[in-house]
Symmetry: C2
Subunit: 257 residues, 2 copies
């Protein structure tokens, strides 16, 4: 008899978000699911970990018969606690999301959803982050669920390379409208940040981060490009940030002068 | 007359840390310095940004005649606020650190110091993160200051490629003991995490993140390797996380089945 897969599900929108409940529904088709996810929204937390505060982990009844815990920390804390304190072994697969909102392009660096998947890759565990290009709390996850099932099935069946996780983004379209899946690269696109400056009741300033995203990357096979064309984007994403192609350009720094 | 360089200095150990004051001393030799740094320790914050809370920015008198601000946010928030609300232009150079503690290997992902430099690279600004392998509050930054000056001088003189920042780590050695500088890659080394579980006054559990770092990367030219040999390590570090070499291995995901 084939051993059942052990699947960890986490996210950054917290145990209360519709997206993680949609992902758990899909994951249940593929094995035993355990949820360890933040107890409050952790969007934009990137790869943050909690060093100077203790972490809390509480049993959650929000997922019916599925074993679930809410955690006071970040998405990366959730992965670490799940592997070392809840499961006491590496799961066969980590699924993160489904995020309410796109995590394409350089947003992968700010994304708690994707940082949980990257942490999984660092643990040597096949890991996939899913995001839907719809921020609304009641977003329609039906198309995402279909493609998540397709992708999970193939990842579990195939040979998964080390050092990599997958960044999956789904456009805000119906299943009939989506054209298919493209494996592509992270677009080099950036936020032109702005801050909204206001004054508090004492006349002191405070700032809200805002801004506009602009795609300056003209390559055809980027995630932003294929999403705009109506495809689900998959970016193989690594934790090795070394710019190997640029190393020779900095060789002069080895000489003192 | 040559235009003076505008240099932004930030860190993750806060405006109160000895490391940032050492770095400002060096930076002052190369142009006009402005400091925007966290008002409290932000170690381990990775690439986190503050979305759901407003940010505070206060003038700081801790740096003498140098214009300085403390910020309630993360290191990445500091860079964004500095560029868009303080300087109102992109500085010529961003320096982050000197971090009290090493940021070699995969620690680059957790590091607030390095995330500030990576944010700088995303803004198209030459950016360098400096870390000293000594966690103590009263660490000796003399050797780091020497090498920081050498590196800054050459970075300002040369042509700096886009999309990259530098991760500089200095071993805990005297200037006489350090053998030189090596440009190298990020080691594939990982934390074997553990959690210390305790019970609070109500008998409820809480967890402290701890663990041991283990270097499983046998390549000779990694940052961990050259640091152990007594060199300053410089890793050219990019924000494009695409695993280009692995894209073909995931092409099968484009086929539904």
């Amino acid at each position: 008899m084939k051993k059942e897969h052990l699947i960890l599900v986490t996210n950054d929108d917290s145990v209360n978000a519709k997206g993680i409940h949609s992902l758990v529904e899909v994951a249940k088709q593929f094995g035993q699911v355990v949820v360890v996810a933040p107890d409050k929204p952790q969007s934009g937390m990137g790869h943050a970990i909690t060093i100077h505060d203790p972490l809390r982990l509480k049993k959650s009844m929000l997922f019916g018969e599925v074993e679930a815990y809410s955690c006071s920390g970040t998405p990366v804390d959730c992965v670490k606690l799940a592997v070392y304190e809840v499961l006491h072994r590496k799961p066969d697969l980590i699924l993160s999301g489904v995020n309410h909102g796109e995590n394409s392009s350089t947003n992968v660096l700010y994304s708690g959803t994707m940082s949980a998947a990257i942490e999984g890759a660092m643990e040597g565990i096949p890991s996939i982050g899913f995001s839907l290009a719809d921020y609304s709390a009641d977003a329609d996850f039906e198309a995402t669920k279909y493609y998540a099932a397709q992708i999970i099935k193939q990842v579990l069946a195939g040979k998964y390379p080390k050092g990599v996780c997958l960044n999956v983004n789904v456009p805000k379209l119906t299943l009939a409208e989506i054209k298919g899946v493209k494996v592509c690269s992270q677009a080099h696109a950036f936020w032109a940040d702005r801050f909204e400056k206001r004054l508090d009741q004492f006349g002191q300033p405070y700032y809200w981060l805002t801004g506009e995203f602009s795609d300056v990357d003209k390559r055809p096979n980027t995630d932003l490009h294929v999403l705009k064309e109506g495809y689900v984007s998959i970016v193989p994403t690594q934790y090795d940030l070394t710019a190997y192609n640029e190393m020779d350009n900095f060789k002069n720094l080895e000489n003192e002068n």
